[in-house]
Amino acid sequence: MDFASILTTALAAGIGPVAAAYALAAIGLNIHFGYTGLLNFGQVGFMLVGGYGIAISVSILGWPMWVGVLLGIACAIVLALILGFPTLRLRSDYLAIATIAAGEILRLFYMSSYAEPVTGGVYGLQQFAGDFYDLNPFPPDRYELGPLSFGAPELWIMIVGWGLVALAAVLVYLLIHSPWGRIIRSIREDEEAARSLGKNVYWYKMQALVLGGVLGAFGGMVMVVNTQSASANSFDPVVTFFLYTLLVLGGAGRVFGPILGSVLFWFIVVGFDALLRSMIANGILPFLESGDIGAIRLSIVGLGLLLLMVYRPQGILGRREEMVLDAR
């Protein structure tokens, strides 16, 4: 077995564009869940509308890609308003239910034959990110990064993806360490106390929902631009489950939690896949076939999340003492 190659595969995934896309979406989810205490189980829906915002604008409407970015943002804002308006006055469970449903409805709708003229239906949309790759300043070549090697387009989307992650992290840092952030965190702790001090809790929850949703849309954009393909099936509910896992892994309610979480998550998951694949190829696991890997990956992530919740619920960057206080 070639452990060096398994390790490089894992490393490449950890710093790759997919990890950046998930980090962005998880930063958004961190605003919802980590700071405001909103249970959004449909973050993937925001990613979907963001990704398709670009795909539809370019492929179907023939607009320039930057307009698609704006459309994606606008769709995320509208989705957040639609979800938040009826539910944010109610107990937190209602938002959870609404977001789960919305994520699935969006996926099924975008995939339906009814929507096919606009969304490409089950086939999705492809090759819409030309504008983006035209801007690539790197000449076509292989670029070495330690043991890793990337093509120019991949390097370009990685740099932009992680650049967006860095921007989002700075944004969250500034917001959270401000009076605005103090209100957001007080809502997570006890929204009645915030109300009793004159804070318009509903409005702040809405702002948080919109902001986190827009970051989710950016995650979806990086995801589809990376593969130049938008397909509704890649916006599976499992994506939200992964986002929660990596957020808890890194540390919810910490600025760098979702970023560290995403890097580690993809390093571990892809590394584990590669290890299994190579073990199967070498006949070490005769009872498995490479087709089983997807299912095993899911069970391993589930088991990992379970162990995390039991043994280190605060994640890597979280504070133990905060977790204790949380058990009210």
């Binding site: 500034l174 965190r185 009793s196 001090l197 004159g198 804070k199 949380d326």
Partner: protein, 284 residues
């Protein structure tokens, strides 16, 4: 206390009976009711709260004191009724706007923001913070100065409430009594016109109670209206200018501390109806 004399004179000529008019009421409530199923938790015909005075709301457990506070401050919906505060109609106003109008309450079951520090809890109370707008929040120079001023005020209050040594501790690590203190101090950060305290001294060390009572009297002398619920009769008799007695949701008596102690309806309400005539009959 000479201070008392000054304000109690505001009640000169006010007759000690339920629903009596006050010379300068800051709050006037009419026909406020709240039912839980068949239970009339609150059924207040008329109540006026005198501006710049300390009014105590007392009554046996389950009398409806907390529910009445919840209704007035927008934390519960009244079945019927109308009330004004400082001239503004407050019925059916959401809680956060009630607080912004200058009517701030504390909770009987404290609501410390556990994973915020004590100082952050305090700072949350400050009003009209420029940094509470999302876009301003990104630019520290816009709100840094104001934050600093609020911090100074918060630390003064924490000092007064003997919590200053805990200012960087998570509020969730405070004891029950400390949480009561924090909640009251946090409410004062709002600089309300009227503060409504639901059992502010429950569980607070007696030595500290004395200094806080003096603080409440000072607040009144600075012009704040104070309304509080309390079971500790020493405190009630010691600092209130006026006492309102609630039993089974209705106001059965009102008066100066000296008048309430001798009131037959009040004694009945506290000892139970079987000891005498029904309170409502007695009070009318």
């Amino acid at each position: 206390m000479p201070d008392d004399v000054k304000t109690t004179s505001a009640f000169d000529g006010v007759v000690a009976e339920p629903g009596v008019a006050k010379p300068d009421p800051i709050m006037v409530a009419d026909n406020v009711t709240r039912r839980f199923g068949g239970l009339h938790a609150v059924n207040v015909d008329h109540l006026e709260v005198q501006r710049g005075a300390i009014t105590a709301l007392i009554g046996p457990n389950g009398a409806g004191k907390t529910t009445f506070f919840n209704l007035l401050t927008g934390f519960d919906r009244a079945g019927s009724g109308k009330w004004t505060f400082d001239g503004d109609d407050m019925s059916h106003m959401p809680a956060y706007r009630v607080a912004r109008h200058g009517m701030v309450r504390t909770f009987q079951l404290t609501k410390a923001l556990a994973r915020l520090t004590v100082l952050e809890n305090m700072l949350l109370g400050a009003t009209e913070q420029r940094g509470e707008r999302m876009f301003n929040a990104l630019i520290r120079p816009l709100w840094g100065g104001q934050e600093q001023a609020n911090r100074v005020r918060a630390e003064e209050l924490l000092d007064r409430f003997k919590l200053i040594h805990l200012k960087d501790a998570y509020a969730g690590t405070l004891s029950g009594g400390q949480r009561k203190l924090l909640e009251m101090a946090r409410g004062l950060m709002v600089q309300p016109k009227m503060i409504m305290l639901d059992e502010p001294m429950a569980g607070v060390n007696p030595a500290l109670v004395q200094s806080l009572l003096q603080h409440i009297i000072d607040l009144r002398d600075e012009g704040m209206t104070v309304c509080f619920v309390e079971h500790d009769m020493d405190m009630v008799m010691g600092i209130s200018d006026w006492i309102v007695v609630l039993a089974e949701g209705e106001i059965i008596a009102e008066g100066r501390p000296s008048e309430i102690g001798a009131n037959r309806a009040v004694i009945d309400a506290y000892l139970g109806k079987e000891h005498g005539t029904a309170p409502s009959e007695e009070a009318s």
